[in-house]
């Protein structure tokens, strides 16, 4: 479902070119659980942003479900992000003044779903992340792990074909982090395609496939069977 062909991303800072991605080609199939690892600054986030249509590559092609993303205008990309992709960030990025329910509803609002259905679907998503008892809490009334679960519910709520998580456990202690990863595993078993960025060893242990980045290039692409 994802095809990346020789993707490069070059940042220009004061006439100096910084290559964040140096030519990445990869294919990811539906229902895969991929972990991306690599040292800090190796281009993991940049790759995630490009796969997630938040950013455009400097050169190279990206195809999602055989559709060429480079040709699309900003509005079309926004629609793809809304319908096909769910993002989970290290910093959770919840709206601090809004309740869990409202936070999870957010993508549905932009999808134009009406109020009643929105609340219903947000509730279901919150149930799936075991947060049905925290519908009306605001982020500052929740623990880190709980916040990340809300953020995951937000990523799930539109039933996207792809969930991208950029260091989702980076701000959590390892026990809470394991809970979150367990949740990802469950989502994977339910049929979601997941790409999770991390550089922690125990995190990658869950994945079927580990892609290791270094200096904006794929250093290793390892597939294995999980139990």
């Amino acid at each position: 479902m994802i095809q990346a062909i020789n993707i490069k991303k070059i940042y220009k800072i004061e006439k100096v070119n910084i290559a964040a991605l140096n030519g990445i080609s990869l294919e990811i199939e539906e229902e895969e659980f991929v972990s991306i690892t690599g040292p800090s600054g190796s281009g993991k986030s940049t790759l995630m942003h490009i796969i997630g249509c938040l950013d455009r590559p400097t050169s190279g092609r990206l195809l999602l479900d055989h559709g060429e993303m480079g040709k699309l205008k900003d509005n079309a990309l926004a629609e793809i992000r809304n319908k096909k992709i769910g993002f989970v960030f290290q910093q959770f990025n919840l709206l601090s003044r809004s309740t869990s329910l409202r936070n999870v509803e957010l993508p549905l609002i932009y999808a134009g779903v009406d109020r009643r259905e929105r609340a219903e679907r947000a509730r279901i998503a919150l149930e799936r992340v075991e947060m049905a008892h925290r519908l009306y809490h605001r982020p500052n009334e929740l623990s880190g792990g709980e916040r990340q679960r809300i953020a995951i519910a937000r990523a799930l709520v539109t039933n996207p074909s792809l969930i991208l998580a950029d260091e989702p456990t980076g701000n959590l202690d390892s026990k809470t982090g394991e809970g979150i990863l367990g949740l990802f595993q469950k989502l994977h078993q339910e049929g979601h395609t997941l790409i999770v960025v991390t550089h922690e060893k125990y995190v990658s242990a869950y994945a079927q496939r580990i892609i290791h980045l270094k200096d904006g290039l794929i250093e290793q692409d390892e597939r294995r069977n999980t139990t």
Binding site: L54, K83, Q91, N93, L95, P107, Y110, T158
Partner: protein, 404 residues
């Protein structure tokens, strides 16, 4: 995304920082309140002025001493040594468009009744005064031609004067002392006028009326009169009457700066054009305060966009289009301005009601004024909201998400 949802997001955003939202509204509130108050004051006062001027008398023309004439003219004016009773008779006889002529002398005199006294304007007039000024006696009778012929010491009191001097006593038939510049006379009260109130600069209730001949011969020892109040045959005949009067007076004085003729119409149109200029000027000033208010709102919105950069990035990541972000922030500034506008209208309404009750005219908070104010607020909200909203919508999603 639906319009109502962007609107709701905007409300959430404003709600998040209520105090700042309110403070940034202040400029708009003050500006709008000022617009409402100014418009209602000018409309209220204009209405009351024109009502009262019309009540002053129909087809009224005033003839008085002119501004010109150099030193001699000034002296003549000070002494009132310009017109005589004969001039009035001549006008009445020769000017066909003139219906009635009332010669007038007014002077400030001290009136005494027992231990009370008042200093008021006493008008020497002729019997036609009632018809010409549309101002009638309520009790007793007005001055008649026999009073004039024999210089009778009779006086008709304005309602306020009667109250001040007599309180509970019936003034009719009572004697009061009138102190002239060099002599003092006993006058008999023969009538009390109906209440009329203030018209322009004089309060008719605080005046008294005596026969003009009595004023000339007994009190002031002069053969001149100060001015004429003249009634034209009809409203349409007004202009013609003015021309005829001018011809007669010019024949006598050979100098048209010595006398001045002005009609009710002229007075009205002068007043309303003065009011109009005044209104435009004041609304302009209020407009400037709205402008300043708008800049305040823009500033708040810019700060808000910067503060919420991450939120904007998040919204974009979950599928907000640039237009959604633009609308959300535009709504925010519009809501700020409109809420400020509504508060301003309420404040302006309260303010103008208070002013109106102090000034004694009916409050006029007109629909056009409210519509104008709301229109202003909307335009200000849109105009000053566009820049911050545009800035928000142009953010790069990745940069916005990274923003600390």
């Amino acid at each position: 995304m639906k319009l109502t949802e962007t609107f709701r997001s905007a409300l959430d955003g404003l709600n998040a920082n209520r105090r700042r939202s309110f403070l940034s509204m202040l400029g708009i509130i003050i500006g709008i309140a000022a617009v409402i108050i100014i418009i209602s004051i000018t409309q209220g006062s204009q209405r009351s002025i024109s009502e009262r001027i019309q009540a002053l008398g129909t087809n009224l023309i005033n003839v008085g001493p002119g501004r010109g004439g150099g030193f001699a003219g000034m002296r003549a004016r000070a002494l009132g040594n310009l017109f005589t009773l004969e001039d009035g008779e001549k006008i009445l006889k020769k000017a066909s468009a003139v219906k009635r002529v009332v010669p007038v002398i007014n002077t400030r005199l001290l009136l005494q009744y027992q231990d009370r006294n008042v200093e008021i304007t006493v008008n020497g007039v002729s019997p036609e005064y009632q018809e010409v000024l549309n101002f009638w006696v309520e009790e007793g009778r007005f001055i008649d031609s026999r009073d004039l012929r024999s210089y009778r010491t009779v006086i008709v009191l304005g309602e306020g004067v009667a109250n001040d001097l007599f309180e509970d006593v019936d003034p009719l038939g009572q004697s009061i002392l009138v102190n002239g510049p060099s002599s003092r006379y006993k006058f008999r009260v023969i009538g009390v006028m109906q209440p009329k109130g203030r018209v322009m600069f004089s309060n008719f209730d605080d005046q008294a009326f005596i026969p003009i001949t009595t004023a000339q011969k007994r009190l002031l020892h002069t053969r001149y009169v100060e001015s004429f109040s003249i009634q034209a045959e009809s409203r349409e005949a007004s202009d013609e009457a003015i021309e005829q009067i001018d011809a007669i007076l010019y024949q006598k004085f050979q100098d048209d700066t010595k006398y001045r003729i002005f009609s009710q119409e002229e007075l009205l149109s002068t007043m309303s054009s003065v009011m109009q200029t005044f209104t435009i000027m004041l609304v302009g000033i209020a407009g400037i305060s709205l402008l300043v208010g708008g800049i305040g709102i823009m500033n708040t919105m810019l700060v808000s966009v910067t503060e919420r950069t991450r939120e904007i990035g998040t919204r974009m990541a979950v599928g907000a289009k640039r237009s959604d972000i633009l609308l959300q922030f535009l709504w925010e500034s519009m809501v700020l301005c409109l809420v400020g506008g509504v508060i301003g209208i309420v404040a302006g309404w309260i303010g103008s009601t208070m002013i109106a009750s102090l000034a004694g005219w009916a409050t006029v908070v007109s629909f056009p004024a409210v519509a104008l104010a709301l229109g202003f607020a909307t335009v200000v909200g849109l105009f000053f909201g566009i820049y911050p909203a545009n800035k928000a919508s142009k953010l790069d999603p990745v940069e916005a998400l990274r923003y600390e």
